[in-house]
Amino acid sequence: MQEIKRRYVIPGDKIIEGNYKPLMNVVKSGNYLVSTRVGIAEAGKDGVKVIPLSGVYIPRVNDLVIGKIIDRSSLSWDVDINACFFAHLPAQDVFGRDFSPAKDDMGRQLSIGDLIIARIVSFDRTRDPMLTVQDKDLGKIPYGEFIKISPTRVPRLIGKRGSMIQTIEQATQTRVIIGQNGIVVVTGRDPDGLSLAAKAIRLVEEESHTTNLTQRVKALLNVQDPEDPEQPESVNASADIEPQTPQQQQQQPQEQQQQQEQQQQGQQPTSEPQPPQQQQGQQPTSEPQPPQQQGQKQKGQQQEEQQQQQNTSKSSSKEKHKIDNSEKSSSNNSNNDQKEKKQE
C-alpha cells in the first residue's frame, strides 16, 4: 500500500482516494476517505487514521482513569471521569463480596470529593462505564497536585514507551499519575519540583503537535543529554541563553541529595501513590513519529537507568518490570483495538 505524507486536516478534508481501510476518525465518502476531526492524517499499511487534536474523553474498556467521587447510593459510588457519562464504582469492589449496605459504612472508605485512580471494566453504547479499583496501584489518591489537560494530549505527555513522562519524573523528582481521561496528579516532596513538573506538563499540552518537543521539555527542565553530541544548535542555544533562576541552580544539588536519601531509604514511603506505569503502554499507536535522535536518547536513558538500577536494586528492578509490562500491554492493546475495529 502506498504511504502518504502526514498532513493536517479538518473535518470534511479528503485524505486519500482509493480502497483503504478507515481506522480512526475517518469515514468513507464515495471513493475518498474523509477526516471527521481536526488533526493529523496518517496512512499506513493497516489503513488511514486521523490523530485528533481536540475533543472530550470517550471511555474505553481497560483505560486507567482518574475520577472524582460525586455521589453515592446504597450500593455504589458515582464517579466523574471527565467523560460524557458518570462512571459507577460498585461498593462490592471496595469492600469485597460480603459487602452489606446495612453493616458497612461506605463513607469510611471513600467520601464525596475524593480522587481515585481506577480502571474501566465495562462500557458500551447502552451502559455507563463501570470501574474497578481491585488492582495494583489503584484506589484513592491521598494527595497531589491536580492538573487537567486535554485527553487528546495524553499520548504525547506519556511519550514513546513513557519517555516524556520519565524525563519529567526524573528531572523533577516527582511521581506523575496520568489518567487516560486527561487528569494528571503530580506528587512529590519538593514544591519547586512540583511546580516545574506542572509547567512541563502544560508545555507538552500547549505544544503537543509541534516538533522537537522532547528537547524543549528537556531545556525547560534543564536536563542535559551527555550521549547526544549531535543536538541541534538551536536547542543548545536556547538552553544556553535561558537564564537559570536561583531555584533551578539550586535544584540539581537538591536532586542529588534526594537521590541519596532515597537510596538510603531503599523505597519510597508506601503512603505515596505509585504511578500506574501500565497506562504508559495504553497510548494509542497514533503517537507522532519519533525522531531517530529520540531513539538514541532513549537508549542513553536506559543505560543510565541500568546504572542506577545496579545501585538501587529494589526500586529500579520494579520500574524495569513495569516498563516491560507496559510494552506488553501496549502490544495487547493495539491488538485489542484492531479486534474491536474488525468487530465493528
Partner: protein, 248 residues
C-alpha cells in the same frame, strides 16, 4: 439611520449601499477558541455582525428522559443580546429566535455523526452581540467551526451565506438594509465537500430563473466562506504551517 430619499440600494455603477459590488461578501473574520470554559468556541465578525458561539459536549443529558438510546441530542440556542440592535431587544426568547434556533439545529445536524455519541447531548449556544442582517448565516458558520473545535465527529463543515434580489439584480450576502428594503432574501447553508444543502429559506418573490441564479450565487458565497472557516481552524491548531514537518 437613513432617509428614504437618500436610499439607493444599488447605484448605476453597480455599487451597493455599503460600497460593495453585487458579488462581494462582507469582510469576515473568525477566531477559534475564545471561550475557555467551553469544549469548543468561535467568534465571528461577519460585516457588522458580531456573534460568539460556545459548544459544550458531548455530555450527560439533563433532563435524562430527553436522551436518545441510539444517538446524541443536538440542542441549539440562538439568542440576541438586548444591546445587539438599535432599540433594546427584550432578552426573552422571541418567536423569531425560537425559529432560528430550530433552523440552525437542522442545518448543523446533517454534518454531525451523532450516532457516535449515544445517550449524550451537544449544546450549541449562539449569542448575537451585534446584528446587521444575515446573523443566522453568520451563526451557522461560527457554530460549525466551534463544533469542529470541540472535537465532535463531523462529515463536513457547514458554510452559510445569503443571496437576495435588490432592484432586479441578484446580489450576494445581503445586509440588514438590503434585507429590509430589498425584494427577496435567501439564506443557504451548504456542505462544501459533500455538495449538499442543509438550509434553504426564501423570504420574498423570485421567478424560477431568479431562484436558480440566487441559489447558485449563495452556494458560491458558501464556498468562499468555507475557505475562511478552514483558515481559522488551521491557524488555531497548526499556526501558519500547512504541512507536517518531519522531525530530523
Amino acid at each position: 439611520m437613513y432617509s428614504l430619499k437618500e436610499l439607493t440600494l444599488l447605484d448605476e455603477n453597480g455599487k451597493r449601499s455599503d460600497g460593495r459590488g453585487i458579488d462581494d461578501l462582507r469582510p469576515i473574520k473568525i477566531t477559534v477558541g475564545v471561550v475557555k470554559n467551553a469544549d469548543g468556541s468561535a467568534f465571528i465578525e461577519f460585516g457588522k455582525n458580531k456573534i460568539i458561539v460556545a459548544v459544550y459536549g458531548p455530555r450527560e443529558v439533563h433532563p435524562k428522559h430527553m436522551a436518545l438510546p441510539d444517538r446524541c441530542v443536538l440542542r441549539c440556542r440562538y439568542h440576541m443580546s438586548p444591546f445587539s440592535t438599535d432599540t433594546r431587544k427584550n432578552p426573552a426568547p422571541s418567536r423569531r429566535e425560537v425559529e432560528i434556533s430550530k433552523v440552525m439545529r437542522e442545518s448543523l445536524e446533517p454534518s454531525l455523526i451523532l450516532s457516535d455519541y449515544p445517550r449524550a447531548v451537544i449544546d450549541v449556544f449562539v449569542e448575537v452581540l451585534q446584528a446587521d442582517g444575515g446573523s443566522r448565516c453568520a451563526g451557522i458558520n461560527a457554530a460549525s467551526v466551534a463544533l469542529a473545535d470541540a472535537g465532535i465527529n463531523m462529515r463536513d463543515l457547514v458554510s452559510a451565506c445569503a443571496a437576495g434580489r435588490i432592484a432586479d439584480n441578484i446580489v450576494l450576502d445581503v445586509n440588514d438594509l438590503e434585507d429590509k428594503e430589498g425584494d427577496a432574501d435567501m439564506p443557504v447553508a451548504y456542505l462544501p465537500n459533500l455538495e449538499q444543502i442543509t438550509l434553504l429559506q426564501v423570504d420574498g418573490k423570485l421567478t424560477t430563473a431568479q431562484f436558480s441564479e440566487c441559489l447558485n450565487k449563495a452556494i458560491d458565497g458558501c464556498k468562499l466562506v468555507y475557505e475562511i472557516q478552514k483558515d481559522a481552524l488551521m491557524k488555531k491548531y497548526f499556526g501558519n504551517e500547512l504541512e507536517v514537518k518531519e522531525e530530523v
